[in-house]
């Protein structure tokens, strides 16, 4: 990484994660993102071709607005191994199964990117749960992080979160059944402390909240906080909205607070936590743009389109500017009532997949 870019990232990681107003953020981030874009252009052939073909090449002048930065769709990580560092510098490969079924995203990390991403997550988490490491209950089973060189998104997310926990335990057994007695005794041992629960939204609901509801069991994690992430698609299908989820989590786990965050394996670290208005807040390392899916033009606040996420952290792969398949809208910027600087947005689920049609489809295997 070039010194100037390196300095910007290093400096930001020492500052308050929501301490910049949007104009301040843009002034700080844009030169670094400009440099990052040029760096990926020089080092990653696929990214270079996309910039040349879709964006008419690199801008001859520095990029002056976030919306001017070239971007790639997240789906490219399913079709290509996008890499901007030599193979020998690859330290870890994150994988995630996407919505397209068999296709798997592959995200290559070097040490620096992995460190920066972990660091950013720490800063953001501290903003919401404080600096002390909390006793932690993971709403998943221990098998998800067995292999430490190649991680599923779920495993990577859990491992990333575990650094905030003390004596973390898993709430689920290998068969995904809820270990009520185990969790209950853990909570007893930490009575009076704030306990951190973490899980992926659907797992936390299906095997956590629902499982406890079915058995009519309740935990008492007074002062506890549940942090969850990972998409609402399956919950929407089950007609579970955020309010239902939050109420269910409070009632069954006994936690005080429930916080959702938006993130993806292609941009680990600079995640978007829910602010006190229930909107997702961009930290100083990141920004968000909403684009018209039909023209790719950036949209103003209040208009729904495809969410584009920008992050200063991805260095080993061209993931600093990604067009997602999620629909969302800008809702605010530098809102005093949140106490947080930067833009906030809401996500309204994934763009519906168009039905697969065509001659080559007589039978579809049941899912």
């Amino acid at each position: 990484m070039n010194p100037s870019l390196k300095q910007v990232v290093a400096q930001l990681l020492t500052e308050a994660p929501f301490g910049l107003t949007q104009p301040e953020k843009e002034a700080r981030l844009l030169p670094a993102l400009d440099e990052l874009t040029r760096q990926h252009y020089a080092r990653c052939e696929e990214f270079r071709r996309v910039v040349d073909v879709v964006f008419g090449g690199l801008s001859t002048r520095p990029y002056a607005a976030m919306a001017d930065l070239p971007f790639i769709p997240v789906s490219l990580f399913k079709r290509f191994e996008l890499r901007s560092v030599p193979q020998e510098e690859v330290f870890r490969v994150l994988t995630s199964s996407g919505t397209t079924g068999q296709a798997v995203s592959r995200v290559v990390l070097d040490r620096e990117t992995a460190t920066h991403q972990a660091h950013a997550l720490v800063r953001i988490m501290q903003q919401f749960v404080g600096k002390q490491r909390l006793p932690m209950v993971i709403l998943d089973h221990p098998g998800v992080i067995k292999d430490r060189t190649s991680f599923s998104a779920r495993g990577a997310g859990i491992l990333g979160m575990m650094q905030f926990g003390r004596q973390p335990i898993y709430a689920f057994r290998e068969d995904m059944s809820f270990d009520f007695e185990g969790v209950e005794s853990f909570l007893r041992a930490h009575a009076g402390e704030t306990v951190l629960f973490f899980g992926f939204t659907f797992m936390a609901w299906q095997h956590g909240v629902r499982a406890l509801q079915e058995r009519a069991l309740k935990l008492n994690a007074a002062n506890g906080v549940l942090i969850h992430s990972g998409g609402w698609k399956k919950l929407e299908a089950a007609r579970v909205d955020a309010a239902t989820f939050n109420t269910g989590a409070r009632e069954t786990l006994g936690v005080d607070r429930v916080i959702n965050f938006y993130g993806m394996v292609e941009q680990v670290g600079s995640v978007f936590f829910e602010n006190n208005l229930g909107a997702l807040q961009a930290p100083v390392y990141a920004d968000v743009i909403v684009r018209d899916p039909f023209t790719l033009q950036p949209l103003p606040a209040g208009r729904r389109g495809l969410v584009q996420v920008i992050s200063i952290l991805p260095h080993s792969y061209p993931g600093h500017s990604l067009l997602t398949e999620d629909l969302g809208e800008w809702v605010g910027v530098d809102q005093a009532e949140t106490g947080l600087g930067g833009r906030s947005f809401r996500v309204h689920g994934r763009a519906p997949r168009s039905e697969i049609r065509g001659c080559s489809e007589t039978y579809v295997q049941p899912e």
Partner: protein, 414 residues
């Protein structure tokens, strides 16, 4: 058809038409072939004509282009033309219906099942038509029309059942044991599966493998068109790619511009704009899922080094391939995506074709060159060369096979 007291129905198979039939039993399958009639029986023409009317009068189907195309195809004058063509070719031999035809039809080209059945019905066969269990609204409406005509003309419709089941080797085997002709639509995967299902040794089989199609436009001929002519050509292209999300085998995915490269480039950009307008007029509001698919496919083609230009618009995305060899995507994207490519000559194009190619829609190619192209492309595997705008027009000759032959037997008399 079934004895009401006999409830030993074939498990997992739902009878859609006739809707009064509670289910099919294995016991009644052997008797079905006896319900075949003479080819081109007037009562069957009447039946299809009544069906055309029912579709035209249906409140939803009347507004659905794919259904309107079916109704148009089923109209009496077209059927009479088909009948004349059929009757004209056998001088010495006697044609009889094959018997019982089993149709394995595709899930998502909503109208294909109907064409396959209609030709076989005209040929005089009893028919078992297998449909997906995930019936689209369009398919449900078409089935309701067929059922209504069956109720109104029960004698004419006898021996024709439309059933729904998901892939079930036992059911397919039960039907295959008693059929005289098996027709498998649905591409390579389905063909492979069905080939593994034993077939009555006396029966014939016709399989339709996965195919791909392309369009050819002569750049100079396009350049010579006036404004109205260009708009019309774009509208005809829209007719070819709008139905079924552009994923019918016959819908082009690639457009080859014949001639000098710079002329092609101007023509392509011009045409892409007109096509966008034509699709917008046909389709109204653009489809979000298709737009996302097109973006993903376009960016991927760019990243892979296949293209040097991408023009993303609400209803369409135009990509420009660097070469003919790079023009074809492994998997069709559809939804309004066309890969344009410049090509010096028809000979160069035909060299690049393979057995999986089906339809070449064309514009601006003189008749004698077209026949030569048909000969060259045909040797490679191409089955149809038709004008742009007719890609989806169904004819009894399909994928290079004659469905009349498949659905009848020729009895030699000397």
């Amino acid at each position: 058809m079934s004895n009401p007291s006999d409830t030993n129905f074939l498990a997992g198979c739902r009878v859609l038409v006739p809707s009064t039939c509670p289910g099919l039993t294995a016991a009644e399958l052997p008797a079905l072939r006896a319900l075949a009639v003479e080819p081109l029986a007037p009562v069957r023409l009447d039946f299809l004509d009544a069906l055309a009317t029912a579709i035209r009068k249906h409140p939803r189907l009347a507004r659905e282009p794919a259904a309107a195309a079916v109704a148009f195809w089923l109209r009496r004058s077209n059927l009479q033309t088909l009948a004349r063509e059929f009757a004209a070719r056998d001088e010495k031999d006697v044609r009889v219906a094959a018997g019982l035809a089993l149709h394995i039809t595709p899930a998502n080209v909503d109208t294909m099942f109907l064409y396959s059945w209609a030709i076989s019905f005209l040929a005089g066969n009893a028919n078992l038509v297998r449909l997906t269990t995930r019936l689209s609204p369009l398919m449900l409406d078409l089935i309701a029309c067929i059922d209504d005509v069956c109720s109104a003309m029960p004698v004419a419709g006898r021996g024709n059942s439309f059933v729904a089941y998901e892939h079930d080797a036992a059911l397919s085997a039960a039907f295959s044991e008693h059929c005289d002709q098996r027709v498998v639509w649905g591409g390579d995967e389905t063909v492979r599966r069905l080939r593994a299902v034993p077939l009555n040794p006396h029966a014939g089989e016709r399989s339709f493998a996965s195919k791909r199609s392309l369009a050819v436009i002569d750049s100079a001929a396009y350049g010579a068109l006036d404004d109205g002519g260009r708009t019309k050509l774009a509208e005809r292209m829209a007719v070819d790619i709008a139905p079924f999300g552009q994923l019918a085998c016959s819908s082009p995915q690639v457009v080859c511009w014949l001639g000098e490269a710079t002329a092609s480039e101007t023509a392509r950009a011009e045409f892409a704009q007109r096509l966008q307008t034509a699709l917008a007029t046909r389709q109204g509001a653009p489809d979000l899922g298709f737009a996302v698919n097109r973006l993903n496919a376009g960016f991927a083609a760019a990243a892979a080094g296949q293209i040097d230009a991408m023009q993303h618009q609400p209803h369409s995305t135009a990509l420009t391939a660097l070469s003919l060899a790079l023009a074809e995507q492994e998997e069709a994207c559809g939804g309004g995506l066309l890969m344009h490519v410049a090509c010096a000559s028809l000979a160069q194009l035909t060299d690049a074709l393979g057995t999986a190619h089906q339809t070449m829609t064309h514009f601006g190619i003189p008749g004698e060159q077209l026949r030569e192209a048909a000969r060259l492309a045909g040797r490679r595997g191409m089955d149809r060369l038709v004008p742009i705008g007719q890609a989806l027009d169904f004819t009894p000759s399909w994928d290079g096979f004659d469905l009349w032959d498949d659905f009848t037997r020729k009895v030699t008399v000397r």
